[in-house]
């Protein structure tokens, strides 16, 4: 019995188990937590972080770093709104946003992979440049959406669940599959695990890295569109600091900053833990200043638990 329990707790999916236990506890202890409405609200609140975490996972797994995601999300949202307003076609707006995201990501990738400039500095630079562009394009003010159909992206539901949550779930599935079952995913992990060995084995390291950043851009574009639809405007100041939330969700989910280690289930758990913490704190009416402390303690506890688990498991 205890043996079996140990096996479950310490297995590959241990983080998930810890999460389930924590979730059950929160459900019991926090009033109004386990209601349909709150669950939907919770899921919607993690859409942006969750979507961007999908590709950030790849980025970190390949030993890279992307600080520009917040800016790209804001920029793509602006582009979606402005292009929709300008062309009168929402579809064109969406395409433009995704194209812009992909373009910025591609530039990131090329600069990092081809000119061999540190990813931190490169994406810090594009973070500033893209944010500047968003501010210039909008003169620092939010841009309203002409067509109410645009709101429907975020408001529409399918089987009672809002579209953005479906999109999130879909992306989780896609990128989970890509990570484990495709050449691209394995190459990513190999590059992070040992770049030199991957290069010598004939993996096209540069091209893979460029792809990762370009994908990151596309995904940020999608996140930007959904965000703009949700807040019914394109805001140049949106998603400031998103990079830190996303990276912490990933690391919390067991993605190694030293590269080579990542699982989709871990990242999902990381994203949800962060979302639940925020949600529960607001439900419990914890004062703003104390929320800082609680947030910090939860982060620490989550990693500590996972660490105890894996060191009990004997891995280092």
């Amino acid at each position: 019995m205890t043996d079996q329990l140990k096996k479950i707790l310490l297995g590959e999916q241990g983080l998930v188990v810890i999460f389930v236990v924590a979730f059950a506890l929160v459900s019991l202890l926090v009033p109004n937590f386990l209601t349909d409405r709150n669950m939907l609200g919770l899921l919607q609140s993690v859409v942006t972080v969750g979507i961007v975490a999908c590709t950030m996972m790849f980025c970190l797994a390949a030993r890279d770093f992307d600080l520009s995601v917040g800016s790209i999300v804001a920029f793509a949202g602006m582009v979606a709104v402005m292009a929709s307003n300008y062309t009168g076609s929402i579809l064109l707006g969406l395409l433009a946003a995704i194209a812009c995201g992909a373009f910025v990501g591609f530039i990131n990738g090329v600069v990092i992979a081809k000119f061999r400039i540190n990813a931190l500095i490169t994406t810090l630079a594009t973070m500033q440049i893209v944010r500047g562009l968003a501010l210039i394009a909008s003169d620092g003010r939010a841009v309203g959406i002409n067509s109410p159909d645009f709101y429907q992206l975020a408001l529409s539901k399918f089987l009672g669940i809002p579209t953005p949550v479906w999109v999130l779930a879909l992306l989780f599935c896609i990128f989970g599959f890509v990570l484990n079952r495709t050449v691209f995913g394995k190459n990513t992990l190999a590059i992070g695990g040992n770049p030199e060995a991957s290069r010598l084995a004939g993996v096209n390291v540069d091209r893979t890295r460029i792809w990762i950043f370009a994908l990151q851009g596309v995904v940020c574009g999608i996140a930007g569109i959904l965000l703009a639809s949700r807040i019914t405007s394109g805001q140049p100041n949106a998603a400031v600091g998103l990079e830190l939330s996303v990276i912490s969700a990933c690391v919390l989910g067991g993605v190694s900053l030293a590269g080579g280690r990542a699982t989709m289930s871990g990242v999902i758990v990381g994203v949800l833990i962060m979302g639940i913490a925020e949600n529960a704190m607001n439900l419990l009416n914890i004062p703003a200043f104390y929320q800082y402390i609680v947030r910090g303690v939860i982060l620490l506890l989550a990693v500590l638990l996972d660490n105890l688990r894996s060191s009990a498991l004997g891995r280092r």
Partner: protein, 507 residues
């Protein structure tokens, strides 16, 4: 013109002329040996062949066609496969994934897992390599990793295969598997370039031989008929070496190191042994016998779950390297890439990292003595480098090993020196000097423990040999009892008759 032709290859690194004007050719279906001192340029030549580095001048021709590779990928698309000196594996991936990396069987980018496992399994089986392909590489011992690395050579249909010191961390049994493999490949008409410091291997396997010295071609033997070992050694080192072991009997003193029933996670059974002052104790065994694990426990590199370690009658309680070094035990680890070199830092710093505490005052370095120590050991161990400030990563494999040895030889107050595969990748000339150093240290009263997979080496320099098998000490022999058959029998876990090895015989 031969099938594979190196023509006037020249390569310069900042401060070092690694190769100058090297030309030779190798025919089809031949194994060609490449020998030379540490830093002579062997690996550089192999790297140029693999498309990893580019020659400043000169060209490589295969079947008369000039080869110009932009990348390693180009190279093996042209049928050239290289097994590098340093292991190039991804620890987080499985054996099968490592062997398929860069060429996963896939449709539309999705990996065909079943096919991958099948392919890899079949290839390994046909080559006689027995490793669980679903294990992650990070769980393998260094010897097992070397076998995985070698297996890469048969994963693709190659015309040219180059192996850079493939046996440096293999014991004789695994080496035999490799030799059988090489014989088979030769039979299939491939060209094989074989780099090694082990003369007996070269003479057993190779059809022809090239010797490099200081980046220049020192000798080329189209056939090994009539070529003697002494001759090759002289071509390599520029002088004769009469007796590489140079064993000198010493008097053993009191017990310095006493290990009692030590146990740890990866050691199957508690182990005990002792080493006396002035004694050189050898540990022999096959890959995975647990020798390295035992030594790591003694040194405190891994946590121990029981047992005592006594040095000069005093029990050591600290179970970390920091404490062990202060108690007078040092360990020179077998995995120099992971546990030894500190990449990005200079030779000088790599040598001084541990011993500098004897010279520093209030935590402030004594530059003069650091420089002096570094220069001393660079000279003593003949490290081939333009300057002590060179980043250690730029040294040749053997020279890196020398620097790590220098780190431990420069320590003061050492009572017990444990060296795990100390001469891995070191050339014959330097080997003799290292042995000489070990004798001197022993004569000064140190207890020395040598772990080695080279049977001739342990037999040549040790006063006593302990044989390990399957995580247990299976035999103990004093010098007058040394017997190759008995030692091998004790090392083998099953009853299969021991494969004969070829003891190095230089006298």
């Amino acid at each position: 013109m031969s099938f594979l032709d190196f023509s006037r290859i020249t390569k310069t690194y900042p401060g070092v002329k690694a190769l100058s004007d090297v030309s030779f050719g190798v025919g089809k279906g031949a194994v060609h040996g490449l020998m030379g001192e540490n830093g002579a340029g062997k690996s550089t030549l192999i790297k140029i062949l693999s498309g990893d580095q580019h020659a400043d001048e000169g060209e490589i021709r295969i079947d008369g066609k000039v080869q110009a590779y932009a990348s390693t990928r180009d190279a093996f698309d042209n049928g050239v496969i290289v097994i590098h000196q340093e292991l190039q594996l991804v620890p987080e991936l499985t054996v099968a994934e490592n062997l398929s990396l860069g060429r996963f069987p896939a449709s539309a980018g999705v990996i065909a897992r079943g096919k991958m496992l099948e392919d890899v399994g079949a290839k390994l089986k046909s080559a006689g390599i027995d490793i669980d392909i679903s294990r992650k590489v990070k769980t393998l011992s260094i010897g097992e990793r070397q076998m995985v690395e070698i297996a890469k050579a048969i994963m693709l249909d190659a015309r040219v295969i180059a192996l850079d010191e493939p046996t440096s961390s293999l014991s004789s049994r695994e080496s035999e598997i490799l030799f059988a493999l090489i014989d088979r490949l030769r039979g299939e008409g491939k060209v094989i370039i074989y780099v090694s410091h082990r003369l007996d291997e070269v003479f057993r396997l190779c059809d022809s031989l090239t010797v490099l010295r200081d980046g220049k071609l020192a000798a080329h033997h189209a056939s090994l008929k009539g070529v003697t070992r002494d001759q090759v050694v002289a071509e390599m080192v520029g002088r004769e070496i009469s007796d590489i072991w140079g064993f000198r009997p010493r008097k053993a003193g009191d017990v310095r190191l006493k290990v009692e029933a030590i146990s740890g996670e990866k050691l199957k059974a508690p182990a005990s042994f002792e080493a006396r002052a002035g004694e050189i104790v050898g540990f022999f065994g096959l890959i995975g016998a647990g020798r390295s694990e035992l030594m790591r426990l003694v040194f405190g590199a891994d946590p121990r779950s029981g047992g005592t370690i006594i040095v000069d009658g005093k029990a050591i309680h600290a179970a970390d390297p920091h404490g062990a070094i202060r108690a007078g035990i040092v360990l020179c680890s077998e995995d120099r890439k992971h546990d030894g070199i500190i990449q990005g830092r200079s030779i000088e710093e790599n040598i001084n990292i541990s011993s500098r505490r004897h010279h520093a005052r209030f935590g402030i370095l004594n530059r003069a003595s650091e420089i002096a120590t570094a220069e001393t050991f660079i000279k003593k161990l003949k490290v081939r480098t333009p300057s002590r400030k060179q980043d250690i990563i730029n040294l040749s494999g053997g020279n890196q090993q020398k620097v790590i040895l220098g780190r431990w030889l420069s320590e003061q107050g050492v009572r017990v020196l444990i060296v795990d595969e100390p001469t891995r990748g070191i050339d014959v000339g330097a080997k003799a000097e290292i042995y000489e150093l070990l004798y001197q240290l022993a004569e000064d009263g140190m207890a020395i423990v040598v772990v080695s997979s080279e049977l001739p080496e342990v037999m040549g320099i040790c006063d006593r040999i302990l044989v390990m098998c399957g995580g247990r000490v299976s035999a103990e022999l004093s010098r007058d009892q040394f017997d190759e058959k008995a030692i091998l029998a004790a090392a083998l876990p099953d009853t299969k008759p021991p494969t004969p090895s070829h003891p190095e015989d230089l006298t």
